[in-house]
């Protein structure tokens, strides 16, 4: 092969090093207006008054938009996957997180835009907020979302994501030891060096050209078109060159807001988020709360896992139900555990809505299961390499939701890691492969879960 496998230079490498790569905010459109947002200063409140008249009357202000200007105010980004809409593009009756956008201004320059934002009269009636997902289910918790404090629209209108496999009671009965732990990875920021940026140009033929930093041109096209109630060919998204995304430039909203301002003012508009907005108002990786109880044997077999996950979705659902579902499908990590009882909830809090970030749904599992597995090894006094290799997925083993693995590579990567770092594994472990289980590697409790890798 010539091109595949070769260490060829980046397609856009020369442009990067000569400073010529064009990112969204590098595009120059004459006559562009600056955009600034009015954002909620509090975590939770009812909006009792919103008066934009002073801002609209200011010299240099070309457009101010609120929820009234949005043709379809609420659109579920993943409605095709059955996740209903719950979030207004711009706040209407209430605000549910500090930083939530309420109104936007397009003005001749940055200072005027900021002054106009200050001139918008906003009256809020603050409400008690909810921040701890563990307390969201308590009878005295404030109810902060129209659906209740946790997402109730999984299939069959279930209010949790559930995985059941085998016989959990029997597994815990048969166990020699049960190891329990709680795992709480934090919300972190994507921190792309390019902050959220957008420019929209109203074209002579009535179309809108949208310079977007989205990670997903067509996904964003669909979202904007839905909010604006326009066919896809009325919009042209220009982009594909992003200054870092990591999952944070998918939950499209900036583009829609800029389109509305461009339509209302008849002028090109430009919005570049400040780094403060990026740190404080942009969607984050989700915090997770995971409780694991593993039923294990003295010789290191994981017989069963009972698990509870609470996924902190922040103020709105966005992609959280999808992330939790993915999480549930992978909650055994790299291991074959035949008896499972998983319950997961998407829980609302009054913080910035959480979204996808590199590893969405599974980063949390990796942290929880692997730390837990290390703990199990230590508790049982078993070599952590042996525990992992023994329980590792093999061809024909089945996933939490019953799908047979066709080419699991846990055994190879663990052995290669050991080799690469100079850890000499005992012969028995070195001889292990990912081939279907047999003999000592197929104890009775794993027989029933074996599936057919051809079914795929």
């Amino acid at each position: 092969m010539k091109a595949v496998g070769a260490r060829l230079p980046r397609y856009d490498g020369i442009a990067h090093v000569t400073g010529r790569t064009v990112f969204v905010d590098d595009v120059r459109v004459p006559g562009s207006l600056w955009v600034k947002a009015l954002r909620s200063p509090v975590h939770r409140a009812t909006i009792t008054g919103l008066d934009t008249s002073k801002a609209e009357a200011m010299s240099g202000v070309h457009a101010v938009i609120t929820w009234k200007d949005v043709p379809l105010l609420e659109y579920g980004h993943l409605s095709a996957l059955g996740i209903p809409a719950d979030e207004p593009l711009l706040a209407k009756d209430d605000v549910r997180y500090k930083g939530q956008p309420i109104a936007l201004v397009a003005a001749a320059d940055e200072e005027t835009a900021m002054a106009a934002v200050e001139a918008i009269a906003l009256d809020l009636d603050e409400q008690p907020a909810l921040f701890d997902i563990r307390k969201a289910f308590d009878p005295d918790a404030p109810v902060i979302h129209q659906w209740g404090n946790w997402y109730p629209h999984f299939e069959a209108e279930m209010d949790k994501r559930q995985i059941r496999k085998g016989d959990i009671e029997r597994a815990f009965d048969a166990a020699d030891v049960v190891v329990q732990g709680v795992y709480r990875p934090a919300a972190i920021e994507h921190v792309p060096i390019e902050t959220q940026s957008c420019q929209v140009v109203p074209e002579a033929n009535g179309r809108l050209t949208i310079y977007s930093c989205t990670q997903a041109l067509y996904f964003s096209l669909g979202v904007v078109a839905a909010h604006l109630q326009l066919p896809l060919n009325k919009l042209k998204l220009v982009g594909g060159t992003v200054g870092g995304g990591f999952g944070g430039k998918v939950d499209t909203a900036t583009e829609t807001m800029c389109c509305l301002l461009a339509l209302k003012s008849g002028r090109p508009v430009r919005w570049r988020w400040t780094r403060e907005e990026e740190f404080l108002c942009s969607s984050t990786r989700a915090p997770w709360h995971m409780e694991i109880a593993d039923a294990v044997t003295k010789d290191g077999w994981i017989l069963g896992r009972k698990m509870l996950t609470l996924h902190d979705s922040g103020a709105y659902a966005r992609f959280s139900p999808y992330g939790l579902t993915k999480h549930s499908f992978h909650h055994t990590g790299a291991y074959t555990i035949p008896n499972l009882h998983f319950d997961g909830y998407v829980v609302f809090t009054n913080r910035v809505p959480t979204t996808a970030m590199r590893g969405f749904g599974v980063t949390s599992i990796s942290f929880a299961t692997e730390t837990h597995t290390s703990r199990v090894a230590e508790t049982l006094g078993i070599d952590p390499w042996e525990l992992r290799l023994k329980n590792a997925n093999r061809v024909g083993d089945t996933s939490p939701n019953g799908v047979a693995y066709t080419d699991p590579s846990t055994v190879p990567v663990v052995k290669a890691l050991a080799e690469g770092m100079g850890v000499e594994l005992p012969a028995g472990l070195k001889a292990m492969t990912r081939d279907p289980r047999e003999g000592d590697l197929l104890p009775e409790h794993l027989v029933a879960q074996v599936g057919n890798p051809e079914d795929h």
Binding site: L8, P9, H16, V17, D25, D26, I193, E194, G244, P412
Partner: protein
């Protein structure tokens, strides 16, 4: 006020308190320095002012009246890359490219001041520059290579030291 940018002297229309970043990006349409944070915290706006690295977001126009500014566009061109640009290309030190301009200007300043290929010294010199994509390894590789005066085959990119490919493993 006037400013010489990449060898071209211009009379400025911007006010004296306009940041050098805005003068470059908005008035002079030199967009390689980026508005990564406008807090002085990320380094993506770094340019050379009379040869010294400066954060353009924290520098006001009045303070650089009459100075000579070099940006990434001025370091070299596609057919005549500066050593640091060639190094960044060959060592794959740029992924999304957004931090690259500022990173290279800081690297150029380090090299101009006689910086060597000592990795710790390079890490210290670039400690105030945030990159989210690369994990910095290849950036350090590139600056070290430039410091050594390596020549670069631009038709190919260099491996990271110590990378091992074990092929198929059962």
């Amino acid at each position: 006020m006037n400013l010489t940018v990449n060898g071209v002297t211009r009379e400025l229309e911007s006010g004296p308190l306009t940041t050098l970043l805005d003068v470059l990006r908005e008035e002079l349409e030199t967009t390689s320095p980026k508005a990564g944070c406008e807090q002085g915290g990320c380094g993506a706006c770094t340019v050379l002012v009379d040869g010294e690295p400066r954060r353009a977001c924290l520098t006001v126009a009045a303070a650089v009246d009459g100075s000579s500014v070099t940006t990434a566009e001025g370091l070299g061109s596609p057919d005549g890359l500066a050593p640091v640009q060639a190094a960044f290309t060959h060592h794959y030190a740029a992924q999304c490219g957004f931090c690259t301009s500022g990173m290279m200007m800081a690297a150029q300043a380090y090299l101009d001041a006689g910086g060597t290929d000592d990795r710790e010294a390079i890490q210290e010199a670039l400690a105030g520059h945030v990159c989210r994509c690369t994990g910095y390894v290849k950036i350090i590789d590139a600056v070290a290579a430039a410091a050594r005066g390596d020549s670069f085959d631009l038709s190919v990119t260099a491996p990271s030291a110590g990378m091992v490919n074990l092929g198929g493993v059962k």
